[in-house]
């Protein structure tokens, strides 16, 4: 696999994402503010923001 077809993951970003997602889920369990598709969208958004952040 050459560099162009390799994906490197930043473990720090993953750690941040995990914390963020758990907090989001905990809050939503309390407030029931978002339904499942909305939560999926929010998690995707969080991933994309974290990945794009330098």
């Amino acid at each position: 696999m050459d560099d162009a077809t390799m994906i490197r993951l930043d473990l720090k970003k993953i750690e941040n994402l995990l914390k963020k997602v758990i907090i989001m889920e905990k809050q939503n369990l309390r407030t029931k503010q978002y339904n499942d598709p909305e939560m999926v969208r929010r998690i995707k958004k969080a991933i994309e923001e974290e990945v794009e952040c330098f």
Partner: protein, 664 residues
């Protein structure tokens, strides 16, 4: 979840509106509702279940007050309502279930479908949960799978004991995990789940841009097909596991029954053998009776005439005439000689002469004029007859003895058969049970084969899917837009894997902690060398360790069973409470609610000493305790929990259809 108030309107014997307020104080957290047997304790406990889930354990599912229902005129209506006010996750909820009963023109009352609503307070305003979401809300507040443990019925302990040991569903395990604070993990894993096209990873799979390479769309379609196959197989594998457990349970039950039935089978064979003997003995008795009657009918006249015959023969022997007859001579012979005129010896026979006179005299002793010969015949026959009937009495006496033996045997056989019938009464034939066992064993064999084949197919689909994913990645990573998606997906996948790992570790730790708590509580209630094991599906096993270190799952007594259930649910409540009391932190992994214990007749299976232990332990473990209890146990409960009792109520039973709740 803490229960604040309960309002009952026309619910079974609680006619009209009746309210009860529960103790929510952190120190005085016990509410005791006391009443005599049949006053409505169980009904009140069931009111919770009906309100939250629309069902009760009563056989009669009509919840309307019978007295009011009878008074209804045709066309009349009766509204039944239970309203439970509670606090969950800091929000105050009112759970309302209503049912309208209407009497039709034929006088029959029918209940309509229940209506279920959940209201909550938001910014001081009351809002209602949307109809489609009420079940999901209820699942969050208290999953139905767990409700029976929180609304605990001490008098229906048998079923719970069996259920808690084996046969709990995946839903139950999931519900326990939720209560133990793992809900955030469960939700996050559910949202990230790669196998669902609606989850984070699945939706990334759906969002590749196929313009750069048409094959991407085909790969995505093939991957989804492989994934669908895997999911279908997974679903079937779960069903297979469940079906195998049911079949195995049935096999176990049947084996237990069959071992008991071996004795029944032996008795059935004995009964068959005895029945055959009975038939033969009855036939022998009939033959014997027939022989006696035949002999009696043949010889009875001779036998009974015997004394008369003897007397006659005696008289005849004294009569001289008997010897004067000429043997084998008839009157016709003499008359012929007289008519011929000369005797056999040649002497002339002439009227008036001596020869003539002698011959005429002989006529007196010859038949038919003489009876001498007949008497001689009679004597011979009499002797023969008396001889033939001489042993009639002895013979019949002997045969009657045999007949009596047959009668006794028959009586004994009937008695033995009846005794066997009584023992085996209501027991199924071993043949049916054995066939059932073979059928279930075959089911297990078939399911095992199907499971192995399914696993093989699943493996093949997974290999295909993984190969297709790799091949698709080769293509998608060459396009900038798709590469981004691939990167996001890789992060999501890594998060899913990491969360799964952390969740598994936390779940294992939480379960071990629960097991420790359950054992601590169990040993404080019930001593005696036993410990409790909690498996990954939260099934409970009571283990006895003998001196050799051999451990074995054991059958438990009622008091042990109730202690196990107490310990299990108290352990969950203790952990949930601990999690909720932990310092509030955004990064705290486990988060759960304190839960109440609502118990109907919880102490009925315990002796005084254990009641004290239980009464001491419960208010410390649970955030809130609500007990419905009979007066005698209630006094003991109050004696032992006095300082913890915040609210007291009494069931005032007016009649079978009316009970009032009175604050004490």
């Amino acid at each position: 979840m803490l229960l604040k108030t309960l309002k009952l309107i026309n619910f079974r014997q609680f006619s009209g509106e009746q309210n009860i307020e529960f103790a929510t104080d952190s120190v005085k957290n016990v509410t005791v509702v006391m009443g005599e047997n049949g006053s409505g304790k169980t009904t009140l406990a069931q009111a919770f279940t009906w309100c939250l889930y629309g069902d009760t354990d009563f056989e009669d599912k009509v919840v309307a007050n019978r007295a009011l229902e009878r008074k209804l005129m045709p066309g009349g209506e009766l509204q039944v309502k239970v309203e439970l006010n509670l606090v969950h996750s800091g929000t105050e909820y009112t759970v309302i279930r209503e049912q309208l009963y209407r009497k039709d023109l034929t006088g029959r009352t029918k209940g309509q479908n229940t209506t279920f609503n959940i209201a909550y307070k938001k910014d001081g305003q009351q809002e209602f949960v949307r109809a489609l979401e009420v079940d999901a809300y209820m699942k969050q507040i208290l999953p139905k799978e767990l409700s029976r443990y929180f609304f605990f019925d001490g008098e229906r302990i048998g079923n719970m004991s069996k259920e808690i040991k084996k046969g709990k569903s995946q839903d139950f395990a999931q519900a326990v995990r939720g209560l133990l604070g793992l809900n955030a993990f469960i939700s996050a894993l559910e949202h990230l789940k790669p196998t669902s096209k609606y989850g984070v990873i699945g939706s990334y799979n759906e969002s590749y841009d196929s313009k750069s390479d048409k094959r991407i769309a085909q790969y995505t379609e093939d991957i989804q097909m492989a994934q669908d196959n895997i999911e279908r197989i997974d679903k079937r594998l779960l069903e297979i596991t469940s079906e195998m457990e049911i079949a195995q349970d049935n096999c176990d039950d049947l084996n237990v029954k069959l071992s008991g039935m071996a004795e029944t089978e032996r008795l059935q064979k004995d009964k068959l053998r005895l029945s055959e003997t009975l038939t033969k003995t009855r036939q022998a008795r009939a033959s014997s009776m027939s022989a006696i009657l035949k002999q009696f009918n043949t010889n009875n006249s001779s036998y009974f005439a015997k004394s008369l015959i003897f007397k006659s023969l005696e008289n005849l022997s004294q009569e001289s005439k008997l010897d004067k007859g000429i043997p084998d001579m008839h009157a016709r012979t003499i008359e012929f000689l007289i008519k011929r005129g000369f005797c056999v010896c040649g002497t002339k026979v002439e009227f008036g002469k001596e020869t003539y006179n002698n011959l005429n005299k002989a006529l007196e002793y010859l038949p038919p004029q003489s009876i001498g010969t007949s008497i001689n015949q009679f004597v011979i026959e009499s002797e023969l007859k008396t001889k033939s009937s001489s042993d009639l009495f002895e013979s019949i006496a002997d045969q009657y003895k045999v007949l009596r033996d047959y009668e006794n045997q028959i009586e004994q056989l009937i008695s033995d058969i009846l005794a066997i019938e009584k023992i085996v009464e209501g027991k199924k034939g071993i043949g049916n049970l054995q066939q059932d066992l073979w059928r279930y064993e075959k089911v297990i064999r078939d399911l095992t084969a199907e499971r192995d084949e399914s696993n093989r197919k699943k493996g093949a689909h997974e290999t295909t899917r993984d190969r297709l994913i790799t091949e698709r990645a080769e293509l998608t990573l060459r396009d900038e837009n798709n590469k981004k998606i691939e990167i996001y997906k890789a992060y999501a996948q890594y998060m899913f894997d990491e969360l799964s790992r952390v969740y598994k570790k936390n779940e294992e730790e939480t379960r071990r902690k629960l097991e420790r708590y359950v054992n601590e509580i169990f040993k404080s209630i019930y001593e005696g060398g036993m410990s409790i094991n909690v498996d990954e599906r939260y099934n409970i096993q009571v283990i006895v360790e003998d001196e050799g270190g051999y451990s074995n799952d054991v059958e438990t007594s009622t008091a042990q069973s109730i202690s196990v259930i107490f310990a299990f649910i108290s352990g969950i409540i203790k952990m949930a409470r601990e999690n909720s009391l932990e310092l509030e932190s955004e990064t705290k992994l486990l988060e759960s609610e304190p839960y109440p214990l609502v118990m109907d007749a919880p102490l009925s299976a315990f002796d005084r000493r254990r009641i004290k232990t239980v009464c001491d332990a419960l208010p410390k473990i649970a955030e809130q305790v609500i007990i419905f209890i009979k007066d005698t146990d209630g006094e003991l409960a109050e004696e032992n929990m006095g300082a913890k009792v915040g609210k007291r109520y009494l069931f005032e039973k007016k009649n079978e259809f009316e009970t009032k709740l009175v604050a004490r």
